[in-house]
Symmetry: C2
Subunit: 413 residues, 2 copies
């Protein structure tokens, strides 16, 4: 028996469930609508997709997506397909063409979502995963065993390099461990990448010389491969410690190439992710896609945060964080989960309850800057809230112990 | 006034329409939930996104997507936003972070689809578009002024290099202009890329020597950047004339890098596209994404075909084909539209009516192989059907004139 990889799906169809799932398997292996010469039984047996599991779920009244073949009842089901690894070799674009590919458009389906992917061990030797990961990131920042407290430079557009550096100075003086460019900030004419690196790294290097701890700044270098490599090299030379990539637009092959080039951790920004995840019966769930990004070499992965300003549910956020923290093969291939979006001290308690871990980046913008005690108090409020949550204090007890946490609840709560 | 780029959207919200659209504009320029220092009126004025148009459409009873802020009435609208080009420079990943980015997850929206993007002329000098395009592709195949008739090697998995070459020999002897790998066929252990190139190019080169016309084979080289470049170089050396890339997984930066390297046209396969397009109120419509791919340098773009085996409507297919054939700045940046999926002679008539053009690739699998008169008759049936459609014949008249077309209607109709 050869090694196989598998993928699980949530599907919805008004056709015969068995036939619909056979169509999935056919499209993703032998695939045509007429029997043709050469499609022998032997080939089918050896290389075709196999239906490993099929679990019927509820029926529904209305199809989730339009233009599918019509009928009743409309059934939902979980299905798991598998393929021999020989079909693709350890190749990420071809893996995605196989487990995702044309499936989302197949006529029998009024809903189809890829939930997760399971890869055979032969991928491990080819894809070592994140080059730095969780341990490497903590080490570069010079801390461990607590959330990395971070923020995003705002406004996302308009600031020049000098103003950015001034903000960085204020932020690191206030005690922040991590700062990132907004995903909208790349290489604008009024704040060129190299100018921003020059100005900000000067501030950060000075701070590191004085304090022996170097806050990490994730500079967004997204662009062509040439631009990204040049920017990485420039940043490395200036003492930078992290690069940020817009994952979906740069693409898996682009990420892999950068992972092969970089000597710094890759902060993976998932903007555009709503396209893949927002609809419950269309697209790809986080565990499937995050595995691809981790294999490609991404060190930090955005997960949203609970009670965020977006539409993602807390359950989905928890699942994403846990997924980042779960090894595919080993601890080294875990990614640092990045929590952000409308976060302030208040979400630390339920987040800790949900994931039972403090291995994460906790990014707040307004949740730091807007703190009535000022920016340093904002940073402290996050750190103390997490400290309290870890020690098993509830919100009330934490507010009683830490003034800055209490002030945060007063203002943001 | 500086140059601006713009993007149009279909949105759905139960909140105040104006406020919701202001949230879109804010998220994609200054973006945070609390006013912060530095966000001055001057910066806002200069670099913020602007609402250019807002057209209210119908109200609906049920939200299209879950987890949005609730309320009534639920309104739909078309909106157009613009940004100064200084914000991003001519940079595709940063452009997509701006016009798409986090928008799909914003809480006020129970629906948001990016419809189209309009770019300023400053992009033209940086992105010359397809290296070969329509003219270059016709020239390489040695034909013009008619549809390029093509097929896809099936079964998609399992065939070794020798069997593939045998099929190629049969197909080009039958008169096909174009052959492509299935998107599932890359570099499997039983049919390595180089073995397949060796076996198939020998057959194709022999045919070209004899007939003075070289059918084009699009070999799927999707993989890491290194693999893709090596495979391209190998194929070029062996006399190959086309490379195929899985666009969504390789990514915009990966495609651009290949476009800078390739000396052959890029056949762009859009597998995974259902994630972006299937839902009417989530994701990205073809004209927006196809522009990105064309700018990145893709020469051929898949468009589906009418009455396809998937869920895409004929109107959507027509719109995609027309989009490929419409210049962004000049004829050179048009892409060759690739029609496929359940196609046979019968769709030529309505397709021609819908687009009034024969500048396209028309790919059929079963529609050629399954023809009762054999493969050569299958190829002829497509060519004659298009010939008849161009001459203004209707289906009945075409069936009367061409036996192979009549047989196709008997069998597939």
């Amino acid at each position: 028996m050869s090694e196989r990889f598998s993928a699980s799906y949530l599907i919805e169809t008004s056709q015969s469930l068995e036939k619909a799932v056979q169509t999935m398997a056919g499209e993703q292996s032998t695939g045509t609508f007429v029997k043709i010469p050469g499609e022998t039984g032997e080939l089918m047996e050896k290389y075709a997709a196999k239906i490993e599991e099929l679990e019927e779920l509820e029926t529904v009244d209305q199809p989730a997506l339009p233009h599918a073949k019509k009928g009743t009842p409309i059934r939902r089901a979980r299905v798991k397909l598998s393929w021999p690894v020989e079909n693709i070799g350890p190749n990420l674009p071809n893996l995605m063409a196989t487990v995702a590919g044309n499936l989302f458009e197949l006529a029998p389906f009024s809903g189809l979502k890829l939930l997760d992917i399971r890869l055979p061990d032969s991928f491990e030797s080819v894809y070592p995963g994140p080059g730095f990961g969780i341990g490497g990131t903590y080490k570069k920042i010079g801390i461990s065993d607590r959330p990395i407290i971070g923020t995003i430079i705002k406004p996302s557009v308009g600031l020049d390099a000098a103003l950015t550096a001034k903000q960085v100075s204020t932020l690191i003086d206030a005690g922040l461990d991590f700062i990132k460019d907004d995903e909208l900030m790349g290489d604008p004419t009024y704040n060129r990448f190299t100018e921003r690196v020059d100005a900000c790294m000067k501030v950060i290097n000075n701070y590191a010389d004085k304090h022996g701890k170097k806050p990490m700044y994730a500079f967004n270098l997204s662009g062509t491969m040439d631009e990204m490599k040049k920017r990485h090299d420039y940043l490395l030379e200036k003492g930078g410690t992290c690069i940020m990539i817009n994952l979906i637009w740069v693409g898996l092959s682009g990420i892999q190439e950068m992972a092969g080039h970089t000597q710094l951790p890759i902060h993976g920004h998932r903007n555009g992710w709503g396209i893949f995840q927002r609809h419950p019966l269309l697209g790809i769930e986080y565990p499937a896609m995050a595995k691809m990004w981790r294999l490609a070499g991404v060190d930090h992965l955005h997960c949203n945060g609970i009670r965020n300003k977006f539409c993602e549910t807390d359950d989905s956020v928890f699942a994403s964080i846990k997924d980042c923290l779960t090894p595919i093969w080993s601890d080294q291939d875990r990614a640092m989960p990045v929590l952000s979006s409308g976060q302030w001290a208040g979400q630390a308690f339920d987040t800790y309850k949900g994931i039972q871990s403090t291995t994460l980046m906790y990014l707040a913008g307004g949740g730091i800057m807007g703190h009535p005690g000022g920016i340093a108090a904002g940073v402290e409020s996050l750190r103390y809230a997490w400290q309290a949550a870890m020690e098993g204090l509830d919100e009330q007890a934490a507010r009683e112990r830490y003034k800055v946490v209490d002030e945060a609840f007063e203002f943001f709560g």
